[in-house]
Amino acid sequence: MADLRVNICGIEFKNPVIAASGTFGFGREYSEFIDLNRLGGVSVKGLTLKPRPGNPPPRIAETPSGILNSVGLQNPGVDAFIRDEIPFLRKYDTKIIANIAGSTIEDYCKMAEILGDEDIDAVELNVSCPNVKAGCVAFGNTTAGISEITRAVRKYCRHPLIVKLTPNVTDIKEIAMAAEAEGADALSLINTILGMAIDIHSRRPILANNMGGLSGPAVKPVAVRMVYEVATSVKIPVIGMGGITSGDDAIEFMLAGAKAVMVGTANFVNPAACIDVVQGIENYLERYNYASVNDIVGKVELY
């Protein structure tokens, strides 16, 4: 059997499949369907300093092979996470990634600091959520913004720091290199692509927030391209995501240069999606006789 372990900035994941932030809650609901011990890791619902109610509904719209969401970071706040959720997740043998978001750099720093003594494995900096008005994505779509926030949070963050990139930019390589230069330990991408859907009968947007973030299979080719671009531009490890529903999809991202993958929207359709992806990766490695999953990372051969 092939070795599925991957090491990302010192964290050893038992396999390269991580549940994507915002699509898996804190794992509780999915624990009724699957064995969380089988996951490489869980990136929890995006946390903010204080609890947030999120945006008004409707918060989801279906589009061809994709969805738009405008949840807007509904979450119980970082303290409740520490109190209620870490102990739950720690019962499982899987890595915990705390996904954090804020409207000011101070928010991010404070959260990183608060989480510093907590029993989590990494912090994922969400500077790419398109669904909150202040801050967040604003930090993620310029090199100046990403440099500033990465530098600041790096100082406060005692865990490995993963910076999550937004695809809504002209040149994602630049942004990635800026994050790397300021001390990011790893990069994850892509977050959702800003989109809009209109109900032609009511003549109003489907989402009460008017716009939302596109995810699911529709975005896969864009995500694979960006993962390739980023993985060939930086030295730190890259975690790829965007539309992964199967082991084959995950392999595509890993060939493009992702050392691990995250599975998001697919969980909604198939609560066992993450497990199926693990199994699919294993099957592929076996079929082509790879000893370790690391052997395929970045192995796409360009024309």
């Binding site: 809650g25 609901e29 918060r59 989801i60 092979s65 969401n69 299979p217």
Partner: protein, 268 residues
């Protein structure tokens, strides 16, 4: 506990204009389901449509180990569902959500349904009746069902079987009372006392039912609809406002509902 199930379709029947009744074999659902719960169905293969579709459990035959979904064709998902054939496999997560509750000592119950909102109410009446019979308790039930017109009336016979009385209204008066079903409810409440009212249907109708019930101090439960992602409480898209102290918070229709007490939820 909900499970991912692949069950067999027994029959699919068009019981009204663009309304289909699907009977599904499922030992699990028929045993575990309670009224007001729903199933989340994968309608097509592949990624378009991508999401599952929530459909209420309309009827359960616990002995036969089957249950019914009734759905109206609205778009791609329900469209594909309507083309399924007996023998086909259907992929669903079920049963889901929190169903109807029964307040202590509620012996006189009313259900008020409009259009496609009537489906979960059938299972509710049937189950209440069965329990009352089993426990030898008195039970009186009235079903108020509103439809667009005579042609759209469905499941009449089924409701007659499980409700002591069935009152029907149509918007155009082509059958039953001419007007809103809530008018019928109000009228009836002039002479009959109900302990609890359950309602499901268009929002304006449910709001009116809530008001009518509140004015008379009748407890009331509503079954809500909201666009869903995961259906199991993880993605947080299916938000609805519920009261929290003096303020409110967002609860989630798929997990905290779809059924809420009328005094805990804030319909907008």
């Amino acid at each position: 506990m909900a499970k991912i199930l692949k069950e067999k379709i027994i029959s699919v029947e068009e019981i009204g204009p663009e309304v289909f009744k699907m009977t599904i074999e499922s030992g699990y659902v028929s045993e575990k389901a309670s009224p007001g719960q729903f199933v989340n169905v994968k309608c097509g293969d592949g990624s378009n449509p991508l999401l599952r579709r929530p459909i209420s459990i309309c009827d359960v035959d616990r002995k036969a180990g089957t249950f019914d979904l009734v759905f109206q064709v609205r778009g791609a998902g329900t469209g594909i569902l309507s083309t399924k054939k007996p023998g086909d496999e259907i992929d669903m997560i079920a049963p889901l959500g929190r169903g109807f509750g029964i307040p202590e000592g509620a012996k006189k119950i009313g259900v008020v349904g409009g259009g496609i909102g009537i489906f979960p109410l059938l299972f509710l009446l049937k189950e209440r009746k069965a329990i009352a019979a089993k426990e030898n308790e008195p039970l009186e039930s009235i079903a108020f069902l509103g439809f667009r017109n005579a042609e759209n009336i469905i499941l009449q016979r089924e409701f007659e079987k499980v409700a002591d009385r069935l009152l029907i209204s149509t918007d155009d008066g082509s059958e039953g009372y001419h007007g809103f079903i809530t008018d019928l409810l109000e009228r009836e409440l002039e002479r009959t006392k109900l302990d609890v009212v359950y309602t499901c249907g268009p929002k304006p109708m449910m709001k009116r039912v809530i008001k009518i019930a509140a004015e008379r101090n009748i407890r009331c439960q509503v079954s809500l609809e909201e666009r869903m992602g995961c259906g199991i409480g993880a993605c947080l898209v299916c938000a609805c406002k519920t009261k929290l102290g003096d303020g409110w918070e967002y609860s989630h229709v798929c997990k905290d509902g779809p059924v809420f007490w009328s005094d805990e939820v804030m319909l907008e």
